[in-house]
Amino acid sequence: MINIEIDGKLVETERGSTVMDAARKAGVHIPHFCYHKKLSIAANCRMCLVEVEKAPKPLPACATPAAEGMKVKTHSEMAVKAQKGVMEFLLINHPLDCPICDQGGECMLQDVAMGYGGVASRYAEEKREVQPKDVGALISTQEMTRCIQCTRCVRFGQEVADLMELGMAFRTEHAEIMTFVNSTVDSELSGNMIDLCPVGALTSKPFRYTARNWELSRRRSVSPHDGLGSNLAVHIKNNKVLRVTPVENEDINECWISDKDRFSYEGLNSAERLTKPMIKQDGKWQEVEWQAALEYVANGLRQVANGAGADQVAALATPHSTLEELYLLQKLMRGIGSDNIDFRLRQSDFSADGKLAGAPWLGMSVADINSRDRFLIVGSFLRKDHPLLAHRIRQAVKKGAQANIVHSSDDNLLMKIANKAIVAPGDMVSLLAQILKALADEMQASTQGVENVVVGNEAAAIAKSLAGGERAAVLLGNFAQQHPQAAQIAVLAEKIAALCGVKFGYLGEAANSVGGYLAGAVPGAKGMNAAQMLSSPRKAYVLLNVEPELDCANPQQAMAAMQAADLVVAMSAFKHKAVDYADVLLPIAPFTETSGTFVNTEGHAQSFKGAVKPLGEARPAWKVLRVLGNLLDVDGFDYDTSEAVRDEAVDTTNILGALDNHLDVALQAVSGAATQGLQRVADVPIYATDVLVRRAASLQQTRDAATPCVAMRGDELKKLGVKSGDTVKVTQGNASVRLAACADDGLPAGVARVAAGHAATAELGAMFGTITVQPITGERA
């Protein structure tokens, strides 16, 4: 530690830190634009010039290392003159269009000019102008003329998103921020550049010109999408959500959010919002009062339960529902005697049920990811499934950690991959067994269960990498959790982690993947799980936030079950395909219109309040379930607040006690790959994961939301006589769809990648399994 003096205040700061760091510590504000605590030092805006004793000229605080005994003055004559001068230069080419600028009122340039600039400019000549370029649906560069070349956006791309899409072309007065030849910005973290931009050069395309900053009220909320639980500020005006920005939480989302968290709010205002309870009578939908709708539901459920038996009633919820909703739904179901409740809709292997020691979770804190030195990431479309967890892993890799991948698709993860084994889904278990065997050999441990496994080169390399680390983590992604042998994968992963004595965890698929377990929204011993409820159709279904054809592991089966049911109660914020098969539509409030809790993948329970009033007659689902509970005479449905529900559901002070990744499943002998035919590999595209993003208009225009194609190895496509871009017939079960074919040599042999969760593939069957791809012959494509 060294001591320096800033404006007469003595500060102790770390050796190697800068004057800016020390000033922040001392609470002295030094104006700046290009400096950002999460980005590298550029020192190109010159706004942070300060006087340092004995230095002949002002020095940039952000790039000047603090030295023992240094005396810094931020308000001396020299400093003030320098700041005024820099400010005047920065404003030379900056259009003074603040009254119509989207950034007006929250603009660093405006604030700093106010605080440190002169009253008038001496510059009277022509200002430069920059031609705007289209960089996609999310970011507008329409007013790039406002840019002050701080390069924060460029550095964000290089250092955080790890995808350098924006750059500064040309030089001096002609320097311009642009993409390469008008390409779009496709990073899944791109929206953060809008926040980073200190001026109004990069603005949010969906939000532009919809409100002035001072008209908005900000309410804190929590992301309902991925398992991270990013902290959000929901900005509202006239009871409408107009934008979403991050709230800094160093332990969770740092100061970033993914584009999904940022732009999904557009779905809230979609025209598809369901605003009135509806009942289908004689095949026609009729808007009714809540009382009538709820009585109809209660009578319906009672009839089925009394007639065919309570086990004919099934409830499915998405893990994007709040803890309170999930808890009350399961309480309601159990109250009427049914144990059929599940939220793990895309899971296909439930053999670990009843053998889990606790709720599966990340196995460590989110912040802990940065300190890992080895990773084994099994079955994860990491970047798209967990944009910010992927960012943390990338940061660790940059610090020297080794990332090892076992997956069925070789996606570009934007980081250095130490070793990877890209195998067909059917070979995943065997590959993990090889890694276990190799590790056991390396550590001279016993190899029970995998004695006879022959270790391949890839597995050996991964084992070696893991054994060489001290703080490794074995992480299972969504693909591994949805895999038909998920339990075996988990057992092997746990054993691998145990052998190295390292952390083992699950990358939670959705906002409440942990919360669902804690809420008890899983079947008990006599209940049916999500797959069983659909494979042996029930007479009545209660759907909470679910679009079965997009949210379930096997949409074909799910739809058949819905069509055949006597009663389908869809609790949904949107009018979706349920109008075809449901009998009642109950309009419930999305996350901004209800209070609730999400328990993120590290077991952190985050409660939030409603930001706006529910739209139309929509009501928070926990209240709807409360009334249903009362109508059905189930005891204990007299909650006053959602907090009361939460406190009954979980002990928020001791959630970690309920989390445990251990599963008591025996390791099965690994059989050779006995699969035949083409195997489907299904990802859920980043903007197809839940009801809300599917209706976020701008996100749907991005490249990540493009209609899925069927991807196969180039040589295998050739064998079929198909070229990249041709339309092919993709068949699974009793349905086929037509999709464009594309070559992807990063896939293993014998595999076709066809995304799930998208309308174009919703008629197909299970996310895992055999699939056929045929060229279209004899008829026009």
């Binding site: 995808l163 072309a169 040309f170």
Partner: protein, 159 residues
């Protein structure tokens, strides 16, 4: 795809740098492209980026930053006239005017037959010989009087 010849040149250049810092060769690679094609197209930048494993925009930044990279075709012979202070004091503007009238083109243009391109340049570090021009960024021609310019063009016309 970069031509085999360029690839070989770049490969030789890459030996000068650590294996994980291939982008160090970007300026050389762009120069090789320009030597072969006379200018650097967007596709060339993308090819260089792929070859060196860099983001395309990073190559674009370099190519647009340095004045001596031609971002559009500049003719078979690119004549770059220095118009910085020393050269201008010694008559660089007359040099420019004479070449413009001789070729019938303006600064930044290319003759219709694609033989000559005229560019404005920055200081070439030979002020004592002002006014100065370069041929294809390789050869410096000093003290450019009208006679000397005629002589230079007479030789170029032959090639």
């Amino acid at each position: 795809m970069l031509s085999e010849q360029i690839q070989a040149q770049v490969d030789r250049e890459l030996k000068k740098y650590p294996a994980d810092q291939k982008q160090s060769a970007v300026m050389a690679a762009l120069r090789f492209v320009q030597d072969e094609k006379g200018w650097i197209s967007n596709d060339d930048m993308a090819d260089v980026a792929d070859y060196l494993g860099m983001p395309k925009m990073a190559v674009c930044e370099v190519a647009t930053f340095y004045h001596m990279y031609n971002l559009k075709p500049m003719g078979k012979h690119t004549i770059t006239v220095c118009t910085n202070l020393s050269c201008t004091l010694c008559g660089a503007l007359d040099t420019v005017a004479y070449i413009e009238s001789k070729l019938g083109i303006k600064m930044g243009e290319v003759t219709a037959d694609g033989k000559y391109g005229l560019r404005e340049g920055e200081c070439m570090g030979a002020c004592k010989d002002a006014p100065v021009l370069t041929l294809n960024n390789k050869k410096i021609c000093a003290r450019m009087s009208k006679e000397k310019i005629d002589k230079v063009f007479a030789e170029l016309d032959k090639s």
